[in-house]
């Protein structure tokens, strides 16, 4: 049966576990909330990963991890733009710019980061393409999945706890009476704090700050725990008034009804 489904029913960690146990070769394609990730495996080991349109060429990965200077990077892009990553890797090793170990370690780090980002995706459709092996023209790694699975499980537990604490992102936040003085907040926390207003839902604050569900929940949880903010119904939101809580629309009759209930309960 085709391995396809929804991340809500089958998490990334569970998928990695399955691929690891079945020693699968192929590519896991995940269509997330805003981009697509492709993770390639060979015999149950991570071989290659890409996400969205991110530039994942070897030169860029090495430059971002400070293994290539700006000048070296520019030169490579200008003169060796036509080379495959494998050819470029060999040329860089032969020229003494980097070692084979540097290349593999940095690619492993880059691919691992993509998997970590994938752990934060809770919405998305996935399918596994057994006919799509890791790309031949790119440098593949062979990374055991066990450590990533353990890390993913840890993150999943955190995610479940955060969902319990903040079940709905459609609620808003408001400041408590505790002043924000002498509080050390990170840049991300300040970005969230600056949008706290009963008019803004937590989801809107996340979207404005380009944060995913996990990131916003982590920050809001911290602010709630510190007693700096509290959850409130968004101002101006259409209140889902209970469908006819009272059998009458008349306010006085409603009060009379509640008083009758009070009298009855007292007499029990």
């Amino acid at each position: 049966m085709a391995l396809r489904g929804n991340l809500r029913d089958f998490t990334v960690t569970q998928l990695l576990n399955l691929i690891n146990l079945a020693q699968k070769t192929g590519t896991l394609v995940v269509d997330g909330p805003s981009e697509q990730a492709q993770i390639a495996f060979r015999e149950g080991k991570l071989a290659f990963a890409r996400v969205g349109n991110e530039d994942n060429r070897l030169a860029t990965v090495l430059h971002k991890s400070n293994k290539l200077s700006v000048n070296q990077y520019r030169t490579i892009v200008e003169r060796a733009g036509h080379m495959t990553d494998k050819e470029l890797g060999l040329a860089l090793i032969n020229a003494g710019y980097v070692s084979q170990e540097d290349i593999l370690l940095n690619l492993q780090g880059y691919f691992t980061d993509i998997i970590r980002r994938l752990f934060t995706w809770v919405e998305g459709i996935f399918h596994f393409e057994a006919e799509m092996p890791p790309p031949d023209d790119r440098i593949n790694v062979r990374l055991d999945l066990e450590n990533l699975i353990i890390e993913g499980s840890r993150q999943l537990r955190e995610w479940e706890q955060l969902q319990d604490e903040i079940p709905s992102l459609d609620m808003a936040l408001k400041f408590t009476e505790r002043p924000l003085k002498n509080v050390n907040l990170s840049v991300e926390e300040w970005r969230v704090v600056s949008y706290i207003n009963p008019k803004n839902t937590i989801r809107q604050i996340a979207a404005t700050n380009k944060m995913n569900d996990l990131e916003i929940r982590r920050i809001v949880y911290g602010l709630l725990q510190a007693g700096l903010v509290e959850v409130t119904r968004p101002e101006g939101a259409k209140v889902p008034l209970p469908q006819r809580s009272f059998p009458t629309e008349n306010k006085e009759e409603q009060k009379s009804l509640v008083n009758k209930l009070i009298g009855r309960i007292r007499s029990l």
């Binding site: 209970p242 306010k251 009060k255």
Partner: protein
């Protein structure tokens, strides 16, 4: 015949069924089933899977129905259905099981999102020696000073009456404030 309803919610084994049984004039229509999970079975033998249903007749024209929600999270699809049209709700929390406080908080937030009706939090099993102090529970549940957190013993009718009355007072106060 006019009918109104209140909802009794809270985590698994918080005492919701007992609460309703203490004041209902009919035998509670319960949908209890034997528990399959080993961990949950160590707490109690059976649990509510759809809802509990109790009744208090006020007079020949008015009846109050009490609905108890299932506590286990996998039955939470029932919560929204049960919350429709409620006058208010009671969140039951087992004062002796701090491991359920976070879930109680989550249930409270979920119900607040369903409907902006008044609610009270009942700290059940306050008669047990290992029950948490009310003020400690207030901090653990992150309830502000305005939220009513009331000591409760779900098996004691007088205690249950006082919880229901406090909820009704809150409903009345909200009506009078014109909210």
């Amino acid at each position: 015949m006019q009918t109104v309803k209140m909802v009794v919610t809270g985590p698994f084994s918080a005492g919701k069924t007992e609460f309703i049984q203490s004041v209902s004039e009919i035998d509670v229509v319960s949908t209890e089933r034997k528990i399959s999970g080993k961990e949950e079975r160590s707490v109690k033998e059976s649990t509510t899977v759809a809802m509990d249903f109790g009744r208090i007749t006020v007079d020949e024209d008015l009846v109050l129905y009490l609905f108890g929600t299932p506590g286990q999270k996998r039955f939470d699809f029932m919560w929204e259905i049960l919350s429709e049209g409620m006058l208010g709700f009671i969140v039951m929390v087992d004062s002796t099981r701090p491991e359920t406080f976070r879930e109680a908080r989550s249930i409270l937030e979920t119900f607040r999102a369903y409907a902006p009706t008044p609610y009270v939090v009942a700290a059940n099993k306050q008669d047990k020696k290992d029950a948490w102090e009310i003020e400690d529970m207030r901090h653990a549940l992150r309830l502000d000073a305005k939220t009513k957190l009331l000591p409760c013993t779900a098996t004691d009718r007088a205690s249950v009456k006082s919880i229901l009355l406090e909820l009704l007072y809150s409903i009345l106060a909200e009506m009078e404030s014109g909210k």
